[in-house]
Amino acid sequence: MREPPPLTAPPLHAPPRHAGAAVRPALSEPVQPSLAAPAPDLRAQRVAPSVQKPVAAGWTRHAAPERPPEPQPEPAPKPRQSRPARRREVAPSRLAYRMERLWLTPMFRVAMRYGMPVLLVALVLAVWLGNDARRAAMANQIAEWRLAIETRPEFMVSMLAVEGADPALDAAVRQVVGIELPQSSFHIDLDATRARVATLDAVKDVQVAVRSGGVLAVTITEREPALIWRQDSGTMALIDGDGKRVALILERADRADLPLVAGDGANRAAAEALALVKASGPLQKRLRGLVRIGERRWDMVLDRDQRIQLPQDNPVSALGRLIALDQAEDLLARDVKTVDLRLKTRPTLRLAPQALAQMRRAQGLETAESDL
């Protein structure tokens, strides 16, 4: 039978109150180890199993002593200050033990640490967004915030600056850009603007950028007209060295400084035409234009309706040879209608009819020829 330990330490001067006190005087004689009976020691939590070995005679087990009626304990018993016996370790409850083990399970740990918060947030969101009105309100709110940020003055573009274009092109560019200003820079599609501007004939290259200070800068590199191209239909266009059309003109005289090319496909061989014009050198004063024949080769037309038929391959060197011949023999000053350089090994001349007749007469040849 185990007694609960007394909860209050009895004061030394007061008469002992607890149960064992009644029998204590009988046992407080000098201690005789072998004779001592297992005293009803109230402080011991656990009485060791008594050894079934009576050591000496007179060993008897005491019955539990009679207990006098115990006085009521004080209303608020103070806990004891110190407990000499080793404190018993508090065992975890079954639930705590199981929870601890569960918590040490790696899968469970991962699930609790990552899976659970994610799940919880997802759940809350799902419940909150389940309502249509709330979802619409949220979308509105977000759009509002977005607009508020986009229309801040830092992001507004209020001016269009076109650089590198002459006044006519400037106007055309401004028309093509077609952006209502002021507008937020978030709403301006620079790539599309650039593509639109690049469709203009006169624009070789364009860069579009939003500069600080709310400026939409369109930097243009213009095409330089290099040739006048007269098409078979009679329209005349300015083309650059690559053959790209720059503008239309009404009359040849508008750009008298530029050489003229004609014929289908002349624009595709613009580079060659420019090289020929450059190589014509002393003939340049007499040059009327270049005609593209069969989209294949050039004829150079000089004044007095002289025509130089150039070969398909290496027309520039052929022209060089002709110029050398001209300087040596003064060929082109004579009454020659056509110089045919198409066969490299056999240049051919066509004389004017009068000149031909005269040459034949000089050679003593009589021909039947008409006056036509």
Partner: protein, 444 residues
Amino acid sequence: MTDLYHTQRAMRNMRRAAMQRGVVAILDIGTSKIACFILRFEGAERLREVDGVGSMAGQSQFRVIGAKITQAHGMRYGEISRMAEVESAVRTAVQGAQKMANVRVDHAIVCFSGGNPRSYGLAGEVELMDSVVTEGDVGRVLAACEMPDIGTGREVLHAQPVNFALDHRTGLGDPRGQIGNRLSCDMHLLSVDAVVVQNILHCIKRCDLELAGVASSAYVSGLSSLVEDEQELGAACVDMGAGTTGISIFIKKHMIYSDCVRMGGDHVTSDIAMGLQISTAKAEEIKAKHGGVVATGMDDRDMIEIGGDSGDWEKDRRQVSRADLIAIIRPRVEEILEEVRARFDAAGFDYLRSQQIVLTGGASQIIGLDGLAARILGQRVRLGRPMRIRGVPADRTGPSFAATSGLCLFATHPQDEWWDFDVPAERYPARSLRRAMRWFRDNW
């Protein structure tokens, strides 16, 4: 017997599963303390069989990563007397160790000292089918050992083959692959009370652990306290615990005898408590601080305050001389040793060539015990400490932890037992098909 065979095989499988998983709990359920170590298996040798013990005395494979000791309550004589208290103590120990290791363990290997272990020597003999010994032949010869009458309500705890003989060649450790005609074996069988084992099984199950093995603590403390040549040449280990004193005799690295004296350090404590009229806790403290077994003249003048908190000045100021204390302790220790001596005599320890005795266990730490034991048990007595286990805190390596350390070694290098070999097919009952059907029905 067959049920037990299956139980033990199931435990063996559980142990394999634990080794696969890499952690196992070692649970030493003693009378005064419950120790839980958590072993983690590591290294390359973990998954393959190695010959012998392996490197670092077999300790390269594992390491203790959690250790917790708690006071045992509800244990008497190494047996469970109050299940709920033992269960909560086991929970405390396991939880503490888990917390230290920071892993969860699901498998426990348990040792205990109670249950009146009793040893039997068995012998079996078979004719070999063909001349080469196979694993099946080993199983057959183990099954051929005739079962002694171990009494009702008793279970086999260990059944270890200790010796094989092939024709006239005896002392074979491993007969497999050898050539001969007749294979015989000697087996050592240790039986304990079935109720004790079942209580422990139940207690472990209530702590949500799977039992992966049981061992006798006398056996495992012998494994850890005897050095290798003592195990080889023959020695006895006396594990003086709190409630029981276990005896195990080893020769050729096998335990050949084990017994138990149901007295231990707690009895000394309770003698002191009764003799001096003090609490058990105080008696334990006085025993540990001032105890001894040999009194000298100085001890008469060495006064010990035994104290008390009764409030009575006369009682609380008592003093006792150390000689008086020794006079209480010594008869009990002598009695324990005499009992041990009686068990040795009964086992025929005198006939062993080497009569080395190793004292270990918590109660062996009392001062002067080796001198006293030498007088009673024989001259070749030494105090033993368990083998050092990797990872164990330094304060958990004393003689009190002989069984715990031994259980770690046992868990990693278990001795071959009878149930490690397959029973030959003819031993299975003829109705095995029907049993299979029943098992199928029960489980689905």
